[in-house]
């Protein structure tokens, strides 16, 4: 009897998993299926198209604006890392070691910043960025993105730094190292792994960032990949060229999903870690 029940249980589990996989992959299936079609192919989108063509992909990949957009996005991501990681990690260390009130303050402040609506912040930011001539500037965008997510990053590094034993600091202090030297020689090597996870999440965030780039980058040669894709969705006025737009979506999503499935243990592991600590 017990054996029979176990078989039922296993079957139910397998069925559930199959259903979940179907629900999560179905939109991707449609995306691929439509992106391989001619504009005029209106047969059912549930069935694989009879004459798949690579033309949509070719058209995107031959568009110099796409490559420009990819370069821009990578530049913004790298600048983001440059502006955020060193500042956040050193501040996080400082906060973790000064203990007490200030750490609690930054914790509540972090929640407060989390509650700030992005669009409301944009209203105040936009005029500031115009005054500073930082619109249509990748550096400006990166500074802004690094700045708005700085509280989160500082909080992230603070929680991590509190787990590094203070004894290490004390030993360095006895040897006469100042705080800066302690940070660079003792603390920084400990932060390597956590910094890699932070960089990965910055990669995802900066590739998918939408609102700020949309209003700060208005010239087509400054577009990020997401803005490029958006433009294709919007460009045809009467009937949108959905297969072409879907091909551009696929070109943007596919490398990210590939990276995700290759690094999923690390990506999910790092998110799990921050879920425990956060």
């Amino acid at each position: 009897m017990k054996k029979k029940r176990r078989i039922y249980e296993k079957a139910a589990l397998a069925l559930l998993c199959a259903a979940i996989i179907l629900v999560f992959f179905f939109p991707l299936y449609v995306l691929v299926n439509v992106s391989l079609r001619e504009f005029t192919d209106l047969s059912s989108r549930l069935i694989p198209t009879k004459n798949p063509i690579p033309d949509n992909y070719r058209e995107i990949l031959e568009n110099p604006l796409f490559w420009k957009a990819l370069r821009n996005t990578c530049a913004v991501f790298l600048l983001d890392v440059l502006f955020q990681i060193p500042i956040a990690s050193i501040a996080g260390y400082g906060l973790a070691r000064s203990q007490g009130r200030i750490v609690n303050m930054i914790r509540s402040f972090n929640i407060l910043v989390m509650m700030l609506p992005g669009t409301a912040l944009l209203v105040g930011t936009y005029s500031l960025m115009t005054k500073l001539h930082l619109t249509n500037s990748l550096v400006g965008l990166a500074l802004l993105e690094a700045g708005t997510s700085m509280t989160g990053a500082m909080f992230f590094y603070t929680t991590f730094s509190t787990m590094i034993p203070v004894d290490l600091d004390d030993a360095a202090a006895i040897d006469g190292a100042g705080v800066i030297r302690t940070y660079f020689q003792i603390i920084l090597p400990q932060m390597k792994a956590i910094t890699v996870t932070r960089i990965i999440s910055l990669l995802i965030v900066s590739f998918n960032s939408y609102l700020m780039p949309l209003y700060l980058l208005t010239k087509a040669d400054k577009y990020t990949v997401l803005l490029f894709v958006r433009k294709i969705f919007a460009s045809s006025n009467a009937v949108a060229d959905i297969p072409l737009a879907f091909a551009s979506c696929m070109i943007m999503i596919a490398p990210m999903l590939l990276l995700y499935f290759l690094l999923q243990k690390q990506i999910i592991g790092s998110q799990l870690d921050s879920a425990v600590k956060g």
Binding site: F24, P27, A91, S98, T119, V123, R230, A275
Partner: protein, 295 residues
């Protein structure tokens, strides 16, 4: 703690390390914030030199703005709806992938996958799936011999779809929060429960769930705040339509500033939205925190 060696001077130096970070926050968060609050006291079209101080007028017009009422209701539905769905489904998913079976790593990766994709793109793709002609949802209905439905032509269906799709896309985040919580439960509690003769259902409600309250706090508060701030999914899926009936507060602010050229009023709505989120999220956070068990 070996705090003896941390001299006062050293402590001061440690605080100096935070200065660059705090300056960044001040410049890119606090100044814009004060700027948009300041704007709320002016009428301004967003670009001209012509700014007129009007005092509380923008805040008074909030009270008689019918659109704002509808938008606030929508935002509440997005926030509470996604929060409830994500937490229930996220917990269920966490319980599933916490079981030992072959392929659980794959399931975990699959459920988290949509988090990688831009919400705007997800919205755009879904708007095609649910479009009236050439939509996939209607293709499926056709298999069952049903006529096409104009999904996005009806604002309530639009609101439902936005809530459902948003919950589905970010379900993985909640799953991870609960998974971390479940893995943190010491097996000795579970064993004690089993010895006392608890079945799997009792074990869940009387042992696991109370110990999961810190995860529940994180799950509810972050998802509620994110749901109330929803923007990209709405612009992607419905564009706020039909007739701005599915708009969220965040999108309303953006449309007011960049389309309707009412920058001052947009600032006032921004202030309203901030307090609106705070008034909902803060008490819930406090209440949940008070129920956490300290072991």
């Amino acid at each position: 703690m070996g705090g003896i060696i941390l001299l006062k001077r050293r402590k001061r130096h440690l605080l100096y390390l935070t200065v660059p970070g705090l300056l960044m926050i001040g410049f890119f968060v606090l100044i814009p914030l004060m700027n948009s609050v300041r704007l709320a006291f002016f009428t301004w079209n967003g670009y001209s030199q012509n700014m007129k101080f009007v005092g509380m007028k923008n805040f008074i017009s909030l009270l008689s703005d019918k659109r704002l009422g509808r938008t606030t209701v929508n935002t509440l539905i997005y926030g509470i709806g996604s929060c409830v769905l994500q937490n229930i489904l996220g917990l269920a998913a966490a319980l599933l992938v916490n079981r030992r079976f072959r392929g659980r790593g794959v399931m975990r990766a699959v459920i988290y996958m949509p988090v990688m994709i831009s919400a705007f793109i997800m919205g755009k793709v879904m708007s095609y799936l649910f479009s009236f002609d050439n939509g996939v949802a209607n293709d499926i209905l056709a298999i069952f011999g049903r006529g096409p439905v104009n999904w996005l032509g009806n604002s309530w269906i639009g609101i439902l779809l936005i809530t459902l799709i948003n919950s589905w896309q970010y379900l993985g985040l909640c799953m991870l929060i609960y998974l971390a919580g479940l893995q943190g439960i010491s097996s000795s509690y579970i064993e004690a429960g089993v010895i006392d003769g608890a079945g799997p259902i009792q074990l869940f409600f009387h042992v696991k769930l109370p110990l999961l309250i810190p995860s529940i706090t994180t799950g509810i508060v972050t998802n509620l705040i994110n749901g109330l701030k929803i923007y990209e999914m709405v612009t992607g899926l419905t564009g706020g339509g039909p007739d701005r009936q599915t708009m969220s507060l965040a999108q309303y602010i953006q449309l007011l500033y960049f389309n309707d050229e009412k920058a001052g009023y947009a600032g006032a709505v921004g202030v309203f939205m901030f307090f609106f989120i705070m008034l909902i999220a803060m008490p819930i956070n406090k209440w949940l925190k008070s129920r956490e068990i300290n072991l």
